[in-house]
Structures are given as structure tokens and as C-alpha cells.
Symmetry: C2
Subunit: 335 residues, 2 copies
């Protein structure tokens, strides 16, 4: 085994990634060294690269998701893992409360080195067998977006059999994972997008209907056709939140996992209390969320939507593609 590896390093926030030869890391006693086969890209990686995240470490290797082969294990780790193919839960040190992460929680790929490299070191407790029905590149697309969508939909949104689910901004990784997983409990799934093509593709994947959030009255169109919605999975926030509140059914749950559309400017709470609504924040997920997510994908033989595959050398092109928000599904790097 060589002593150096190729890795996509962020020289400093705002600069493009650089492919460099760096030392292969050594696993600590409770860690594993994994030879990366495929690594999924998340919006988080692009935001860190652009410097839009707090606490960015110069020279960090980005990347949270991967599938790979265990190459070496620390002294406290069962050596039977060596040579096994694994998927990695990128959430490290979530802590004991399922409701919320501990203050030591962090995500693989900043400040610790991540998966856009030939090798990565991770805690042994974060390593799982990948779903057997998935190809390596499909499994590599799953971790962060999958756990985020699972927690939002099931642990936070508590979606129940036959409920009406609205997923906003379909096309993004989390939104499409949520769509896939929602099909296991309901056939009433509605999506929004600014793109007709994305709505059509979502309908092919199991959505029942779609609306253009760019139209002022999209929520009224939805309500007149579907009545209302029970669970909403939203990564945008912004002015549409007030419209979503308008169409939430009594006791409905709006789960927010991002604010790509900015602040909520004005919100009347009258409907929130009259209808006993729930506005619930969610980000990433706990080990239990990750395990239950894997189980759901295994049980229902779900497959993630892969948008494009790039090589490690093309990583800056892959970041640009994601930044344009043109993608429909996950972008994966073949290492």
C-alpha cells in the first residue's frame, strides 16, 4: 500500500478544489481506514467550497458520502471488517438524544477530512453494510441526503399511511430521497418546482401531481385540487412558508430543513394555533435515523436517483453543475 493518496483539497474558502497528493491517514484505535470507491456530493460541500459555512478549515478534504472497502482497522475494531464493502454514516458524535445533536456533532468532510479522496478514516460505529440491491454509485448517493430526508419525513414529520405529502423544490437530493421514501407509505405525493421537466420526472417516479412555485397562486391551485396537505418537507423557507401554512390540514406538520429562499418575512399564526399545526426544524439525522433509513431502503428495494457521475479530476465541474441547480438527483464522484 502506498503512503500517499490523491485527494480533492480546499486550499481556502472561495477557491476551486485542488487535486493533491497527501499522506494516507492512519485510523485511531476505534476507527477504520476505507478505500473510497464512490463519493456523493451534497449542497453542503458546495457551500463550504464557496465559503458560505461557519468554521471552514483551510486545506480540508471535502465530502460526506461514500461507499468503499475497509482497508485497515484500529486496534479496538474487529478485523473481520477488513475487505468488506461498507457505507458510511457521515454524522459523527451525534450524541445520546435523538431529538437533537450534541455540541460535538460534526459531519465528515469539514473540519475532519472527508470522502473526496482515495482513502478516508471514519469511526467504526459509523460504518454499515450497504443495501445489497444497490450498485456502489447508488449506495454512495444515499447517506447524508437519505438520512436528512428520512428524519424529516418519518421522525419529525411522522408521516402516516395514506396522508398527503408535499415536497417542495423537487430535484434536489433530499427532496428526491423524500419522494422515494414517501412512496412507501402513501400514493398522495405532491411536488413543487420551477421546472416542468422536473415535475414530469417526479411524476414518473411516483409523485401524483406538481405545481410551479413560481406561480403566485400555486398553493390555491393545489388546495382546490387536493384539499390540503398533511406533511410538508421543505428546504427553501422564504415567502412560500406562509402559503404552505395556508394549505396545511389540521394537525399538519411542516418540516423545514433549509432556507435556500431566505427568511420568512410575514407569517400569521392564527392558522397555526387554530389548526394545531406543527412547524418543525430538522437537519441531518441521528444514528437511529440512519439505521432506520437503511432498513427502509432494504425492505422496499428503493433506488436513489443519480443525476451524473464525474471522476475525481472533474470535481470542480461537478460542483458547478450542482451550483446551477440543474440537477435532478444525486451527483456522484467515481474515485
Amino acid at each position: 500500500m502506498a503512503s500517499t493518496m490523491r485527494a480533492a483539497v480546499l486550499p481556502e474558502p472561495g477557491k476551486p478544489l485542488e487535486i493533491r497528493e497527501v499522506p494516507i491517514p492512519e485510523p485511531l484505535t476505534n476507527e477504520m481506514l476505507i478505500k473510497v470507491l464512490y463519493a456523493g456530493i451534497n449542497h453542503r460541500d458546495v457551500w463550504i467550497q464557496k465559503g458560505l459555512y461557519p468554521g471552514i478549515r483551510k486545506g480540508v478534504i471535502l465530502g460526506s458520502d461514500c461507499v468503499g472497502i475497509v482497508e485497515k482497522v484500529g486496534s479496538e475494531v474487529d478485523s473481520a471488517w477488513i475487505g468488506k464493502k461498507v457505507i458510511v454514516n457521515p454524522g459523527i458524535d451525534w450524541g445520546p438524544r435523538r431529538e437533537v445533536q450534541s455540541s460535538s456533532f460534526h459531519i465528515l468532510g469539514n473540519p475532519t477530512n472527508g470522502t473526496f479522496a482515495e482513502y478516508v478514516v471514519v469511526p467504526a460505529e459509523n460504518v454499515y453494510q450497504p443495501p445489497l440491491h444497490l450498485s456502489d454509485e447508488e449506495a454512495a448517493a444515499l447517506p447524508l441526503a437519505g438520512v436528512t430526508a428520512y428524519r424529516a419525513l418519518f421522525y419529525r414529520g411522522k408521516v402516516k399511511e395514506g396522508e398527503t405529502v408535499l415536497i417542495t423544490g423537487i430535484g434536489g437530493g433530499v427532496a428526491l430521497m423524500a419522494l422515494k421514501m414517501a412512496t412507501t407509505v402513501t400514493d398522495k405525493i405532491i411536488v413543487t418546482s420551477s421546472s416542468r421537466e422536473k415535475i414530469e420526472r417526479a411524476i414518473e417516479l411516483g409523485a401524483s401531481d406538481g405545481f410551479f412555485y413560481t406561480q403566485e397562486d400555486w398553493h390555491k391551485q393545489l388546495a382546490s385540487k387536493w384539499g390540503g396537505v398533511d406533511v410538508v418537507i421543505d428546504g427553501a423557507s422564504g415567502p412560500n412558508i406562509a402559503k404552505i401554512i395556508d394549505i396545511l390540514n389540521p394537525a399538519g406538520r411542516l418540516v423545514i430543513y433549509g432556507q435556500t429562499a431566505g427568511r420568512v418575512e410575514q407569517l400569521s399564526t392564527a392558522k397555526v394555533f387554530w389548526r394545531h399545526l406543527n412547524i418543525l426544524g430538522s437537519t441531518m439525522g441521528s444514528p437511529s435515523d440512519f439505521e432506520e433509513m437503511l432498513e427502509l431502503w432494504n425492505t422496499h428495494k428503493l433506488k436513489p436517483v443519480i443525476d451524473r457521475l464525474y471522476s475525481l479530476d472533474e470535481i470542480n465541474k461537478a460542483f458547478e453543475w450542482m451550483d446551477n441547480a440543474k440537477q435532478f438527483g444525486k451527483i456522484v464522484i467515481k474515485v
Copy 2:
């Protein structure tokens, strides 16, 4: 028994109440006729009187809360109730889901005739034995504010032993009921008010500290002294919601039961999702909430705060007093 009774009738929205002689109502088969001893006033009554509520029936007898004596029962009701002193749950036809009321739910005192009268008819299932440690006027203060506060704090806010609770706008009926009930689970209760006197009185009743929400940085003062809060009970909404979000601890719960201060403005959702916060609407309560509330008051021998007692003839003065928001505790009518 006479065939007419005195009652405070709303001739039309916006007009003062008029004391009139009206026929004593007859209970239906599943109802009871109750001779009212004391009737509590709620903000709802004042809002209906001012015409600030939807669906106001001209000529309605207002009033949701009462303690009285069962005078007569319908044919399906056990006649052993006759002569018993009772407290009334004013929420009628809540329906089968504890999470939210059914569409037939309504509150005694509009559109059905309420408790500001010598007699009132209510469904037998809404009648309970009053807590034995309370005087009649104290028990009459309990129902609507008590069930609203109970549901907000326990069923929605899920307050746990030792958590830090913030109750905004102390002095109102629901806020003071929440303060009393919160003392049964924690000694870290913080209140806000615009009045120094109300804060001082809240501290006498068991609050640990108070802040003036009229000061721009009240939430920063609170955070620097107490760290943050786990559960917030708020009936105001408005611009302070963004400040409350700022000081909510991870996995914290903000329960909103009103919007006396208007819409929420400029809310960043970043803290909502990073901290897995919960913004929960709540109004009034289910039969289970009412029963558990009575049990809590019985177990802990809690006493509500009574602000003033008025006679039925003085009801318009009582309404004015409540409308001025000068009160600290419940206003009760002796019928």
C-alpha cells in the same frame, strides 16, 4: 322554578351586553340544566362582544366558564346528578382526535348560549366535579384558560421535570394558569410583561425571573442570565417570535396560542432547523386535556389567581376592565 331567567345578551356585535329576562332553556335528552353560581370571563367573550370573531350570533348569551348546581337532566342522563355542584368543560364536540378539534367543535357561549345567565344547558359529558379545595369562584375561573394552558404546556409543549419555561405576557388568564401549572414540574420559570408590578406578582407566585418585553434586548438579557429556554408559552406572536427562536435551547418547543401582537415578522429558519426546534400551535383543549388538567389541580392543590369579582349587572364594567389589560388573573362574575 320560574320560567324565565336573567341573562347577559349580546344584541349585536359591537354593542354593550344587555341584561334581559329570557326563557329558561330546556335540556335535551343528553343534556343538563345548570343553575350558574359563578362564571369566568375570557378574552374570547370580549372579542366576540366587540365583533372581532367570526360567526357571531345576534342575541347570543356569552360566557364559557361556570360552576353551578345541576337543576334538571335530560332523559338519558343519570338523575343522581341533580343537586350536585359541577364545573363545565366549555369545549363541545371536540371529536375523536386529541391532536386537533373536529369541524363541529364549538365553545359554550357562541353560537350556543353560554354561562352569563342564571341557567345554562350543556351536554352531560361536559360536566365534572369541581376540585374540592377550590372555592366556587376559583373553580369558575378554571375551565377555558386552564385547559388552554394545560394543553399548551403538557400535551403540546411536553414540558419535562426541571426544564426552563418562558411564559410571555404574564397577567392574562392563560399565562397565569400556565405559571401555576409549570410550578408542579420545574422551578425555572421566567415571565415577560410590560409591567413591573405584574412581574413582581408573578415572582411571588413562583416565577424565578421576569423581563420587560418592551426592552429591545430583553431576550439577550434573559439568555445571558439563564442560558436559554426549553419551552415557551406565548399568546402574542408578533415580532418577539424571532427573539424567542434566538433563545430556544436545542429541541426546544415554542407553543403559540394567540396573536395579540400581530404577525410574525422576519423569521430566519436557520436556528429552527439546526436546533431541531418545534413551533407548535395550540388552542383550547380536548376532553383528555380537560380531565388531566383537573387532575393536576387536584393533585397539587393549585389555586387560580382571581383578579376581581363583578355581579351580573356589572358585566359591561367587567368587560372594560379586561379590555384594558390591567388585570392580573381571572375576572369572575357572581350570578
